[in-house]
């Protein structure tokens, strides 16, 4: 059980907030591109406040990770090194991929282990993200700073006249907030932070050119929602939702974004004078009950100095236009073909239950606990389904489903806001509302590894508001076999740089452990043609466990690694 420590911090934090009028330059995460991505998750620290540093965790850095740029159609290979003290997972939020590569709660990476998932990028151009998804530990691990953006590019989006120069007129913004205790450590006693962190920067400012600028906004909060707008209430144009472009830019002055959601919009600074300033704001004051962060309390279990207030997300100075400035937006972005209710052959309902204050049971789906080895729903491959999720309990939620993008077809509370009229994987589920969406489950069947659906407010997810489904097909069942001695040989043995696996079986999974039981490598569905690279292993004895794709039976073989000469 995680106990939340230090209650005395609120007073101290309030005291120092007033002294923080200065702006800090917005940090823009580095990008990684290509088809092989090396990610190193590690414990580290950041100087957020004066005084002691804050212990954080980072990916290739100190707080928040690099932005991964994928090209649609490429097969991307991830080398995920867990150098944290703890086990973790890394989930590719919004990506359509095999469940065994998904990085959900079942693909646990022990400390000191390298996990190598890979998949073909089939998502259309949009903004996605990656983050830990360890059962009951997601809040703590996301709070520590683990996560990063994924930008998918494709030829259709690239052909449009849209701002696309990363960090110049195409600005990724990850929104989150944190609180600190007396020793400057993060505290998640309340899931709502006292300090706004925009790309990990407190009191962030940046200069943006006098032209159309694109923002890719991600809410990576533990629980807070944002009702975004500009300080002069100017109109801006939604160009994309979670999973792709919308048909045409949608003019708005406010957009609500809940944990896990992304929105892309373009805004023009062409009419501003150089040196002018304005703010991107969270207009979070006076919102409806159930909107996370609308609570009035400034301290306590759900308290925050930012609750029920309007606050700055980014202070913007307008600077000179760049040479490749976009001066007008295309009137048509794409032509999406959405599934409709009539296409669905299976309808499911889900209800958010429990979570009544004082009764001691957290939020659940259909009064059922999340249990790691229980599959809640079975989906047949290539089926179009309609899911209706009802929330009749005490608070709003942020519903997310893995594997697919869907189209929201109805909200019982009224009309579907125009800014979410596109491909979605996460949405705001209001109090007393039923939201229905339609989707097709295609490409990846796997009877063993499930996908998740859950609330993306981390405390709710960790508390059990999560379920899991497998996508199955008639041909992917686990075959029963009595085979006792499969052909499975490792060579050369002893090995120096590469171990080859000789077998007639197809590999579903390979793990390699060392003599003391430390997991070295986790290889989901490896391609064994080029062997397995063991150059980084210390000399010694290792055990390779091979899981057969057809039978899901596992077999272990020993090999010895020699020192390089």
């Amino acid at each position: 059980m995680k106990l939340r420590t230090t209650l005395a911090a609120a007073a101290l934090v309030t005291g120092s907030l007033g002294a923080q009028a200065q702006y800090n330059s917005l940090w823009i995460p580095d990008t990684l591109s290509g088809t092989t991505f090396n990610l190193y998750m590690k414990d580290t620290f950041v100087q957020f406040l004066t005084g002691n540093q804050t212990i954080t965790a980072g990916i290739n850095g100190a707080f928040w990770g690099p932005t991964l740029i994928f090209q649609k159609g490429d097969t991307v290979h991830m080398n995920v090194h867990n150098n944290l003290n703890d086990s973790t997972t890394l989930h590719w939020h919004g990506m359509h991929l095999p469940a065994v590569m998904d990085g959900g709660p079942h693909q646990i990476i022990p400390p000191g282990t390298e996990w190598q998932p890979y998949w073909k990028v089939t998502n259309t151009a949009s903004t996605f993200w990656y983050h830990p998804h360890l059962n009951m530990e997601t809040e703590a691990q996301i709070a520590s700073g683990l996560g990063g953006f994924i930008i998918v590019r494709d030829s259709e989006e690239s052909a449009l006249t849209l701002p696309r120069t990363y960090g110049v007129d195409d600005i990724p913004l990850v929104l989150t907030s944190r609180s600190f205790d007396a020793s400057n450590a993060f505290t998640t006693f309340s899931p709502y932070g006292d300090y706004m962190l925009t790309n990990g920067t407190m009191n962030a400012k940046t200069s943006l050119p006098k032209q159309y600028v694109r923002f890719r906004i991600l809410n990576a909060e533990l629980e807070r929602g944002y009702n975004l707008g500009f300080s002069d209430n100017r109109t801006f144009y939604i160009i994309g939702t979670d999973g792709g472009l919308v048909d045409a830019p949608v003019a708005v002055t406010r957009v609500k974004i809940l944990p896990g959601e992304r929105t892309e919009f373009a805004v023009s600074f062409a009419g501003d004078a150089e040196g002018d300033s304005l703010d991107l704001m969270a207009y979070n004051s006076g919102l409806e009950f159930g909107f996370p962060g609308s609570e009035p309390s400034t301290s306590g279990a759900f308290g925050s100095l930012l609750n029920n207030t309007n606050f700055k997300v980014l202070h913007i100075y307008v600077s000179a236009a760049t040479s490749g400035a976009v001066s007008s937006l295309p009137t048509t972005l794409t032509t999406n073909t959405y599934l409709t209710a009539a296409d669905a052959t299976v309808s499911r309902t889900l209800k958010v239950t429990d979570g009544v204050p004082g009764e001691g049971i957290g939020f659940r789906f259909d009064s059922t606990d999340f249990i790691m080895d229980t599959i809640n729903k079975y989906v047949q491959l290539n089926t179009v389904e309609k899911w209706s999720v009802t929330n009749s309990n005490v608070f709003g939620h942020s519903f997310h489903i893995h594997d697919i993008q869907f189209k929201i077809i109805s909200r019982s509370s009224g009309t579907i806001p125009s800014y979410e009229d596109g491909w979605k994987d996460t949405y705001y589920l209001h109090v007393n509302e039923t939201v229905s969406f339609v989707t097709r489950f295609n490409d990846y069947a796997d009877p063993l590894h499930p996908f998740m659906y859950h609330c993306h407010m981390a405390p709710h997810e960790d508390g059990g508001l999560m379920g899991q489904f497998v996508v199955d097909s008639a041909t992917t069942g686990v075959a029963k076999t009595t085979e006792s001695a499969p052909d499975l040989t490792l060579y050369p043995n002893p090995a120096k740089g590469t171990v080859f696996v000789s077998t007639s079986m197809q590999a579903y999974y390979i793990t390699i452990t060392n003599a003391v039981g430390h997991t070295m490598l986790m290889l989901p569905r490896p391609n064994l043609m080029k062997g397995i690279d063991v150059r980084n292993f210390a000399p010694g004895t290792y055990y390779l466990t091979f899981t057969d794709d057809k039978t899901k039976q596992s077999y272990t073989r020993q090999f010895v690694k020699y020192a390089d000469l």
Binding site: M1, D43, N52, S183, A538
Partner: protein
Amino acid sequence: MRTFKFIAPAALALLLSAYRPLPTEKAVSDFKLLATTGRMVSLADYPKAKGFMVVFTCNHCPFAKVYFNRLNDLSKKYGALGVPLLAISSSDTVNFEEDGYGKMKEKTAKEHLTFPYLYDGSQATAVDFGAKKTPHAFVVWKENGKLVVKYAGAIDDNGAEPEKVVHHYLAEAVDALLAGKAVDVPETKSVGCTLGIRAKK
């Protein structure tokens, strides 16, 4: 077990205080651990010492790394006053190869560590002290033939910028004890990487 967040704040505060064990004024056992010099070291090897600074640390943790220079200074200053400093690595070496005994020896030589750097492979000493983080500092004082914890927590209040330290918690505790006074701040929160205790097989 689920942490449920709808508990009233007052009730939670009570729960937290009830769960909080008193880390100081508890007696700890002596230990016998392998030092990077190759010798076995225990506190009984220091019959003239008034007390000890025992610091749980490790090679790999970025926050532990920034303190080794300061440990050298503390060792020099208070060792001469009869309060030796001993550093112990109880890190899980299955997870962290960088914390292995061989790497500890390398670090001792490379950084000219002036204090014993001990390898607690079984993690039993960390469990006995209740060490939670790296670094996690303790002052133990000899009292009626017992080793009594008088301070537990951080070394000081600024890891990366030693010149900006305001409270030298560990040194101030030793100063007070040497002057025959009670320790002003007997406990602080240790800040650093979580010290993972590997479950017994």
